[in-house]
Amino acid sequence: MSIILVRIDDRLIHGQVTSGWCIKLKPEIVLVVSDEVSGSDWQRDLCLASLPECFKGIVASIEDAPQIINKLKKDSQPSYVLFESPEDAYKVIKNGAHITEINVGGMHSAKGKREILYYMYVDEKDTFYLKALRDMGVKLDFRNLPENENADVMSML
C-alpha cells in the first residue's frame, strides 16, 4: 500500500504537512485534490510552490481523483493524498477511490462554523459528511500532528 497518508486539511500543503507529518511518514508524491485549485493555473502554481522540491506534486479535480488514487495505491513510491473537506473526500470515495482511513487534520474557521477543537471548526455539511465517511466504513483519525492523541471528535458533532 503506497498511499501512506490521506488527510483532510483545508490549508492543503503547509508546514504541518511538509514538516510535521513528513518527518514521521516520508512521501515522495503529494496529490492535492481540489476542483478550485485544479481549475486555476495561478492557484495550482501557488499551491505547489509550498511543496519542497524533494516531493513531486500533483493536483487533480474531484472527478479525476479516484483513478489517480487507485493508481498511486499500486505504485511503489509512497504518497500523500490531501483533501480540502470531508465532502470532497466522501465524493472521491463514492466515485471509486479505495480509501480506508483518513487523518482529519485542519478544518479552520469560516462563517457558520462552530468550534470543536482549536484546529477543527464544523458546520452542518461537515458533520453530515464526516458521519457519512464513518458510515461507509472509513476509519477517521482526528489529529493535527502525528504526536497528538486521536481526538474523539465524532462524539462532539
Partner: protein, 123 residues
C-alpha cells in the same frame, strides 16, 4: 509612511510587536495578524482590510515562513502595491521601522534584504 504587517503562526506576530515596542517604542502603521484557527480565505480577508491607507499606499508584509498558509495568504492578498518579506527576523523589522520614511517603496526592499541578511551573525 509605508505601512507594515507582520503575519505568522500562533502568537509570533504579537510577541514580535511587543519586543519591537520595547526596543523602538510604539510604532504607528505596523500591524500583526495570526493565522490561528483561520482558513486561508479568512486570513486573506483580514489582510486585505488591515488598513485603508495600505490599500491606497501599499503594504510591506512580513511573513514568518515560506510555504504555509500565512505566506499563501500574503501572496493572494490584494493591494495596489505590496512587497512580501518571508522569514523575517528582528533586525529586518527594526530596520523597517527606522528606514521606511527614508526610502521609496521599491528602494526599501533592497535595503531590507541587506539588513535582514546582516542581522544573522554566526560565531
Amino acid at each position: 509612511m509605508i505601512e507594515g504587517l507582520i503575519i505568522g503562526h500562533c502568537n509570533i506576530g504579537e510577541a514580535v510587536m511587543n519586543v519591537l515596542e520595547s526596543i523602538s517604542g510604539s510604532s504607528n502603521n505596523l500591524y500583526f495578524l495570526s493565522n490561528d484557527g483561520l482558513s486561508t480565505k479568512e486570513l486573506v480577508q483580514k489582510i486585505n482590510t488591515v488598513s485603508a491607507a495600505a490599500q491606497e499606499n501599499g503594504l510591506f508584509i512580513f511573513v514568518d515562513i515560506y510555504g504555509g498558509s500565512c505566506w499563501q495568504a500574503a501572496k493572494i492578498a490584494d493591494f495596489k502595491q505590496k512587497h512580501i518579506i518571508t522569514g523575517f527576523n528582528l533586525p529586518v523589522l527594526i530596520s523597517f521601522i527606522n528606514k521606511r520614511e527614508k526610502f521609496s517603496f521599491d528602494e526599501l526592499t533592497e535595503v531590507l534584504e541587506n539588513d535582514a541578511k546582516r542581522g544573522i551573525i554566526i560565531e
